[in-house]
């Protein structure tokens, strides 16, 4: 029985989002009544030993959170000082492809870069550097992406992407020519 409390604690700890009694029951291979008892006991134990985390219930789901007071304050200091990382090489390259070819979809970005770029694109969206620009007419009608005003500001492009640096040796290439060349090279790298 006390084992189930440890199991529930571990489940709540590794979960990426709050869990329902059903979720807990399935993962713990226990019935929901037992889960209810384990949740109660976990709450008591955490409170009893002045733990830094407490059990919380949010719209019928359970999760752990930093206890109010010093633990929660320290946790929010930690979040605030999360070091701001510059753009990774992968992010910069993806951004370059979007900036020079926009609008462009994820399958094409991945093809040109030679590696799946879904996570990188997602990160750029979250940072507000790119956003959606309709859907393409190629297979599967992929969502297209373009750079944003935030992008212009971060890169100091007051006149928008027209102010992007020319590419040495490809000065006269328009977006289509550039695109063709990138696809050819991607195929050569295969």
């Amino acid at each position: 029985m006390s084992d189930l409390v440890a199991v529930v604690e571990a489940l709540l700890f590794v979960a990426a989002e709050p869990l329902s009694r059903g979720d807990l029951a399935v993962a713990a291979e226990a019935d929901e009544t037992a889960i209810d008892r384990a949740l109660e006991e976990l709450q008591d134990r955490l409170a009893g030993r002045r733990s830094g985390v407490v059990l919380d219930r949010v719209s019928g789901r359970y999760g752990l959170r930093a206890a109010a007071g010093p633990p929660a304050e320290a946790a929010s200091r930690l979040q605030d000082r999360m070091p701001e990382r510059g753009l990774s090489a992968a992010a910069l390259e993806t951004l370059a492809v979007i900036a020079y070819l926009q609008p462009v979809g994820r399958p094409e970005i991945s093809r040109i870069r030679g590696v799946s770029s879904d996570a990188v694109v997602q990160g750029l969206i979250e940072r507000g550097l790119i956003d959606e620009a309709g859907r393409g007419d190629s297979l599967g009608a992929p969502i297209l992406y373009r750079t944003t005003g935030t992008f212009d500001r971060v890169f100091g492009l007051e006149g928008g992407t027209a102010g992007l640096a020319p590419l040495a040796g490809h000065d006269d290439a328009d977006a289509d020519a550039l695109r063709d060349r990138l696809h050819e090279l991607a195929a050569l790298r295969d």
């Binding site: 571990a10 020079y100 971060v154 992007l164 050819e184």
Partner: protein, 263 residues
């Protein structure tokens, strides 16, 4: 349990019987290897593998070595015997190179086994990758100022052509057909037609040939129609609406014309 590849029963046009007999006949030059479809031998073997419960790596390796040898012999027969390049490959050198590679691979295979052991010793390690669900939301990340030149640098790296292969590699540089297929398709998405000659102007002979193969591929898939008014004339390419015999006849003309052009 699994059996040697040598007793694989074959039923080919040119030969019917066990694989080892086929090998013996080929090696004694009593059977023309050119007549033996290696693919069918492979398919027959795969068929047998499917029936077997477990895969015996020794037996499979043996089969691979034998089939690789057959492929090599056959390719030597098919390629012009005067080809110097093939003659230049020294068997000792090739074996030494292959052995060095296999030895290197062994080291990493050992390392992989080491990792597997470590994993076993570490046990099941489960943790959350990412922040806690109920943690206060992270303040929006402040973006550091960036230089547009870094974008251009990243782009130029992508535009860097793969280096020309060195002399160590005997194989000639190949030009892939696929980019031309993609490129022609893209062209025809925005326009109804284009002129082949204009699209390949300035390209190398090899690229020219690859582009032409790409065009044939699109014709075969009935995606485009091609027209050539006269021998050596410009080749016009249009989006295909209907496909049929007329189209194939046209292609044959084009192929004939281009062959003469190459000659």
């Amino acid at each position: 349990m699994s059996r040697s590849a040598l007793d694989l029963d074959l039923d080919l046009d040119a030969f019917s019987g066990p694989f080892d007999l086929l090998l013996a006949l080929v090696l004694r030059s009593e059977l023309e290897l050119v007549e033996v479809p290696v693919l069918e031998i492979v398919l027959a073997y795969l068929g047998r593998l499917e029936e077997e419960q477990a895969i015996d790596l020794e037996a499979v390796s043996e089969f691979l070595v034998l089939v690789a040898a057959l492929c090599e012999l056959k390719s030597r027969l098919l390629v012009d015997a005067d080809d110097d390049e093939l003659e230049e490959v020294d068997a000792d050198e090739a074996a030494a190179e292959l052995a060095a590679r296999l030895a290197e691979y062994q080291r990493f295979k050992q390392a992989a086994a080491g990792l597997a052991e470590r994993k076993l010793a570490a046990g099941l390690r489960v943790f959350r990758a990412g922040r806690a669900p109920l943690a206060p939301p992270r303040p929006p990340a402040e973006l550091v100022e960036e230089q547009p030149a870094r974008l251009a640098e990243a782009m130029l790296l992508l535009l860097e052509p793969p280096a020309v292969l060195g002399e160590v590699v005997i194989r000639g540089r190949t030009v892939p057909v696929r980019p031309f297929v993609d490129r022609f398709r893209r062209l025809l998405r925005t326009r109804a037609s284009f002129t082949f000659d204009e699209e390949v102007r300035g390209l190398s002979v090899a690229e020219h040939a690859a582009a032409f193969v790409a065009l044939l591929e699109l014709v075969k898939r009935e995606e485009v129609q091609v027209r050539q008014a006269s021998l050596f004339g410009e080749i016009g390419v249009t989006r295909s609406r209907v496909a049929g015999l007329v189209l194939r006849a046209t292609v044959e003309n084009v192929v004939a014309g281009d062959r003469e052009a190459v000659a």
